[in-house]
């Protein structure tokens, strides 16, 4: 199967030049890190227990976060894209709020909601003795808070672009709304869900501000890789560069391997 040749024509110069500059702009800082990294200490860094513990915690919490975002975010996107209700514009704006909120402020906001003096956290503590701040659960909560909008926006966009006639046909043939969603809508928007999950995972993996505020920083429990990078930067900038590259490498490996499988354009 050969693609029609028109699809791969050279883009106009007006687009090509900024595209090249844009790619270079994103790429050069990474090159800088690669050049400056003290490669001779790579083995030593990787065998340091702290680095691997932090990396494992980051990967695990980012994955749980992505799962949580899928469970919560796809329904949110569906409600926003396929229903009409009063105040919908406001709800949509609020859903994207964590994108503009400085993450540290997000962390403080989580305290005011789920801390032991928070509007909900107070009752969790009083009734069940549950205190969420400074726990691994708090890491996942902080990451979910900042990563959820990425998934919602991606899936909502996909839902708006999807052809609703298939769902209507399914309904005509007697499928329930849930069946139509599961068998027709979800497969239709699968690429959007996959892209949103990838963004969501990457955002969660790099999360720093909300996490260090709400979950704190304790090796093994809440010290994720970005927090360790920041603290290493304080007295060992070269070490921080190497740790960042490890984080970037893990992220690239995961994203590239998933891209081919899920999105089908790799």
């Amino acid at each position: 199967m050969s693609q029609p040749s028109q699809q791969y024509r050279r883009p106009p110069w007006v687009l090509l030049l900024p595209a090249v500059i844009g790619i270079a702009y994103l790429f050069l800082p990474l090159v800088g890190l690669l050049v400056r990294a003290p490669w001779s200490t790579l083995g030593q860094r990787l065998t340091e227990p702290g680095a691997l513990t932090a990396l494992r915690l980051s990967v695990i919490t980012a994955s749980i976060t992505t799962a949580a975002c899928l469970v919560l975010g796809v329904p949110v996107a569906f409600v926003l894209a396929r229903t009409r209700f009063p105040g919908q514009r406001l709800v949509r704006a609020l859903v994207t709020l964590p994108l503009v909120l400085p993450p540290v402020v997000g962390g403080v906001a989580l305290f005011t909601a789920f801390g032991r003096r928070g509007v909900i956290g107070m009752w969790l503590d009083r009734w069940f003795g549950i205190q969420l701040p400074f726990t691994t659960t708090a890491v996942v909560m902080a990451q979910t808070f900042v990563a959820l909008p990425f998934l919602v926006i991606a899936v909502e966009g996909a839902l708006r672009g999807a052809d609703t006639r298939f769902e209507e046909a399914a309904a005509t043939l007697g499928a329930s709304r849930w069946t139509a969603f599961r068998r027709i809508t979800l497969p239709l928007v699968a690429p959007g869900v996959a892209a949103g999950s990838v963004l969501c995972w990457a955002r969660a993996l790099g999360e720093f501000g909300a996490t260090i505020t709400f979950a704190g920083n304790l090796p093994g429990t809440t010290q994720t890789m970005p927090i360790q990078v920041y603290l290493t930067l304080q007295n060992d900038p070269d070490g921080a560069i190497l740790l960042s590259l490890i984080l970037v490498t893990v992220c690239i490996i995961v994203l590239v391997s998933l891209r081919g499988r899920w999105i089908g354009t790799g």
Partner: protein
Amino acid sequence: MWTKRTVGIAVVAIGAAIALAGCGSSSDAASTPSASGNVTGTITVLAAASLTGTFNQLGQMFQTAHPGTTVKFSYAGSDTLAAQITQGVPADVFAAASPATMKTVTNAGDANGTPQNFVKNQLVIAVPPGNPKKITSLKDLTDPKLKAVLCAPTVPCGSAATKAEQAAGLTVKPVSEAQDVKSALTPVELGEADAALVYRTDAKAAAGKVDAVEFPESAGAINEYPIVALKNAPNASGAQAWVTYVESPEALAVLTAAGFQAP
């Protein structure tokens, strides 16, 4: 999305940024030929975050005493500032919260002269107002039911905390290691942590939101604050004037009122 209006705003913003940058360089240029006794122009001071309140106050007083000068501050963690200096940030003075961070700058050959310690700072236990958990000593923080926040050992307040623990012969197991002293204070202010080891000045600056509990072992973990003029200072005479002013008795009075100690 890019309406004419937003483009217009962007153009104005960029224009303003260029104009401001132009102002900055022209005033620097004007200040260079001035004699040491006659200080003018902009003086850029990089200072440790814990100096924020006092240096803002000293800046106002300095500007009143030296008409025609503007003191601009950039506050951050001493380590961050030291890194900026070695990367060539154009600034006149560096005031650090620890000799170790100052050493980064002097080792790189970026200091003009020898740094002088101008104040000392000491740790206290910050607790929520009224001290609900009745904390009276460092030993109380070892209670596993108590939520204590320390600074991470890599930052100055964290290394001071470690020294205090060693002096007391005990180990505090924190629920979190903060990345700087202000972040250690935040959970206590919000009532999410029961105690934090912070500088006396930080506890004093947050008076009303936290109470400070003094403990004897903090004497074994005193932090010294060095100040130095920078070698590539755009305003060399201004730099020297600021350093001299910070070391003056008048400035020391402001600093001690905020909880610092004389060097």
